[in-house]
Symmetry: C2
Subunit: 311 residues, 2 copies
């Protein structure tokens, strides 16, 4: 059987990397020749989890068609968020929890998506169904992914399935979810010594909404006061990126993971910024807006923006 | 919980109707308010199965947005093959075994696709996982769907999962798959007393391939000699349809279900017909071509055509 690469989206977060590792291992037990890879280096949070559970980071690849003919995707389906040469390979499996968009195949495939908080929750269900035992280190990474995606089960994307999976995985991994989770989340909010240009690229995704090129990044913090004085630096970095990559709108969600609030910084053309304000029934002050209770890009930012842009 | 309609593709075949009935029943057991409907009347084969297992045909609907805000799709995802107003509703669940094409959602959803012969095989797995008992009549319809889609497990689309599901469902339904299956398939090949214009519309699907409008219909028979004298009648009916609906290419697969061969009748513009010939490495004689061993539109006709048209 020809080798297949398994990977998550660009700018990988903990779920993109943990789910790739976990799904590649599961499929190997089922007889596939798989290797988990990543479309970028792990961020600080993911590195904390990998270190904690003594697991190597997956090999970083820039393209995939030079290595394989077939791939398996986790935590994404949109070509814009995938390998730049994704059109040259056949996608045989997808495990995801996002909307389906611009994803076209020539052949039937295995596709398992559920509207849950974390892809690792779905991968956990795949293990259960296949009756394959989850190694302790992989269970720890999957638990880390659920903690990361659901902000310790506090995000509105959290479902009962995420709660059950986290409880089971944390037990397998031998960690207390609350204690380990807070330490891991804090490790990912180390923003003081990083330039804004890096921070806005670490967890960023691109979307096309009615022909408009939209970029939405998320930066977690435990204290908004760390970020507020740096807003001009963020806006400069965002404007540079927006110009370089022709974004009509660039939104950075600065999310306080302790109290579940977001400060949005918004850069773009006037019409796009007005559409953003309309989407969230707010007004922009110096290109920022407080979004109380907003923590989820997928559930609380993408849908209203998509609707405001008209599709 | 608001009511959701569950339905298969236009020109429903036995799987489209059986899977809708079976999935609607399963989801009702899970607490959803569902009703199975159909986007067309059952064909002769499906009617045979419904009569045999004493199950009512699902209500036929022309549109869905006038009744509900949310729907569940079985056996299709491409908007072209769905309700004409599908864009006005939210798709919450998809159970399918086709390629994914032009299917875009604004929100995450439940999507379970596998490259197996029949959607009812996947619905069977959903019942197993939910540990819901399958009523005898619904098991019979699901078995009928697997027999229909795999031509009694002889189509190259057939997988081990289809074989296992058919064995289990036939036992639940109390039928011998071979004996019942042949009778059901023959009931669906009653073409002598139907005009070609009807036959080419009963199991027909539309595809867009690189901007070209392609229609592919399938007509089953137990004796190609029944069809050959009627080829001019078929071509006339196809040309009329192609003109009316602006098809660049219209292919009718006349499939002998006993020996697993197909005679293709091909109508369209010269370039499209030449692309068809190239796709199957054949030449057209009076707009027909023998395709030995070809029985599956999805696995043996759509992929080579898609490739020949360039995507």
């Amino acid at each position: 059987m020809a080798k297949e690469l398994v990977f998550g989206h660009q700018n990988p977060d903990t779920d993109a990397i943990a789910a790739a590792i976990a799904y590649a291992y599961l499929m190997k037990q089922k007889g596939y020749d798989t290797e988990a890879v990543a479309l970028g280096e792990p961020n600080d949070e993911t590195r904390y989890a990998l270190n904690y559970f003594h697991h190597d980071a997956p090999r970083v690849v820039k393209t995939v068609a030079n290595e394989v003919d077939k791939v398996m995707l986790v935590d994404h389906n949109e070509p814009q968020q995938s390998a730049p040469d994704i059109a040259k390979v056949t996608v045989t499996h997808v495990i995801d929890h996002h909307r389906i968009h611009d994803f076209n195949t020539a052949q039937p495939l295995y596709y398992h998506a559920e509207p849950v908080g974390c892809v690792s929750t779905i991968v956990y269900a795949e293990y259960q169904q296949a009756e394959v035992a989850i190694p302790k280190d992989i269970a720890g990474l999957m638990a880390s992914a659920i903690i990361s995606d659901t902000l310790l089960l506090k995000s509105p994307t959290t479902t009962d399935k995420d709660c059950h999976a986290l409880a089971a995985l944390a037990e397998l991994a031998g960690v207390d979810p609350e204690q380990y989770g807070l330490a891991m989340l804090k490790a990912g909010t180390n923003i003081a010594d990083k330039p804004a240009a890096n921070l806005i690229d670490e967890d960023a995704k691109s979307f096309t909404m009615n022909g408009q090129n939209i970029r939405i990044a998320q930066v977690n913090t435990v204290d908004l006061a760390d970020v507020k004085p740096r807003i001009p630096e963020f806006k400069d970095a965002m404007a540079t990126e927006a110009k370089k990559d022709a974004y009509d709108l660039f939104v950075v969600m600065v999310t306080n993971i302790l109290n579940s609030d977001t400060l949005a910084i918004v850069v773009g053309n006037d019409a796009a910024k007005a559409t953003f304000a309309k989407a969230f029934k707010t007004t922009l002050t110096d290109d920022t807006a407080a979004l109380p209770g907003v923590v989820s890009r997928k559930k609380q930012v993408v849908p209203p923006l998509t609707e405001a842009f008209g599709g």
